[in-house]
């Protein structure tokens, strides 16, 4: 994996893009230890501060997709296949999040995008996929 993107919306808000987010995010390994820094990370830091450091622009339309990147240029990876780092997920990892104080109780849909490394091989005129 090079990054995760987490969105949150009320199930009754299907016709909208994500308009909610969690207060903090963390990714844990099988033992419950954080693999992104040892402490839950705020959505503001993930959304904006890291984006500034990586010199890419976020527009308001997709404001509530929260990126959790495991490599410096995960956005470039998505767009051009560039890869400088990744994390191997083996089925024991967990996503830990906290809701804001005052967050309205209800039924929400959580959607997690998982950006994965894959390789397309062209041998002769035939295509095949190799995936980690």
């Amino acid at each position: 994996m090079t990054s995760l993107h987490v969105s949150l919306k009320k199930t009754s808000d299907w016709g909208n893009g994500p308009v909610w987010n969690f207060q903090t995010y963390d990714v844990l390994d099988g033992s419950g230890a954080s693999i992104i820094g040892g402490t839950p990370v705020s959505s503001t830091y993930l959304k904006y501060v890291r984006a500034i450091g990586r010199d890419y622009e976020l527009n308001n339309a997709s404001d509530n997709w929260i990126p959790i990147a495991f490599t410096d240029n995960s956005l470039e990876h998505e767009q051009a296949g560039i890869l400088s780092g990744y994390v191997c997920f083996d089925g024991v990892h967990q996503l830990a999040m906290t809701t804001w104080q005052g967050f309205a109780s209800g039924t929400y849909e959580i959607y997690v995008l998982v950006n994965r490394v894959a390789c397309l091989r062209q041998a002769g005129g035939t295509l095949s996929i190799m995936e980690s």
Partner: protein
């Protein structure tokens, strides 16, 4: 380490020695060597194999685009033209709710004539990729004139760029044995803000392609078809979707099961 002038020394900038597979036609390339292409950019549009006028209002319906002839793919954009059959009520595109791909459930990019899934681009993934579009450009994509609202008895259109797709990895269509199939699945009426879908008038997949000069094109195709395997690393997104009861000020832990 060898010194210049010794027999073992090879100056990669001036050596005429290349591996056999790098001497195809007029192209003399080393794996690490840059070259300037003699090419021009060309826009090629593809029509779907069939067009169902009610596709936008039918959950699970899909369109197929089959790409075989062409050049080197660089990007793709879906262009939809729709008609509002109502004489008195406007229809709003999901773009008004920041859900650019709301009417699309997913787009599957299939190789080997449709038998090999190269990428599955969920509507959510495509929607999120719009995050990388500058605010200024985004305003023009979703702004008036591009179909935010389809007035009663009128037509509307939308351009939906397939950002983050494998098309951005210079697939050379003539070097493939079988077509690339782009299958666009729709969400039905649930994908529209007011639960009313317009009539689909036309759907076109617009692609940007690199058209090499004839001799270089022939050499490249020959090299890809008969040379060693060529690998393209790309992003193959996966996803999890689940529903939970949430309350304020609480911590939740979810297993990442489908990765």
């Amino acid at each position: 380490m060898t010194r210049p002038g010794s027999r073992a020394h090879v100056d990669v900038d001036t050596s005429p020695h290349l591996y056999p597979h790098e001497q195809v036609g007029e192209l003399r390339l080393r794996a690490s060597q840059n070259f300037t292409k003699n090419s021009s950019n060309i826009i090629v549009s593809y029509n779907p194999t069939t067009l169902d006028a009610s596709a936008l209002g039918t959950s699970g319906s899909y369109l197929d685009f089959r790409l075989l002839s062409g050049h080197i793919l660089k990007s793709a954009t879906l262009h939809l033209v729709v008609r509002n059959p109502s004489a008195d009520t406007a229809i709003r595109w999901p773009q008004t709710q920041n859900l650019h791909f709301g009417c699309i459930n997913r787009i599957e990019i299939l190789g080997e004539g449709g038998s090999l899934q190269l990428q599955r681009l969920d509507g959510e993934y495509l929607n999120r990729m719009m995050n990388a579009v500058s605010t200024n450009a985004l305003e023009h994509i979703i702004g008036s004139g591009n179909g935010v609202t389809v007035l009663a008895s009128s037509y509307g259109e939308a351009y939906l760029p397939l950002l983050g797709s494998i098309f951005e990895h210079t697939l050379c269509l003539p070097a493939l044995n079988s077509p690339i199939v782009i299958r666009v699945y729709f969400n039905g009426t649930a994908g529209w803000v007011d639960g009313v879908a317009p009539v689909l008038v036309s759907a076109v997949l617009i692609t940007d392609q690199d058209r090499l000069a004839a001799r270089e094109h022939e050499s490249l195709v020959s090299r890809l078809r008969s040379g060693p395997p060529s690998d393209i690393r790309f992003n193959r997104p996966g996803f999890m979707r689940f529903t939970e009861q949430l309350a304020g000020g609480s911590r939740y832990v979810f297993p990442l099961t489908s990765v």
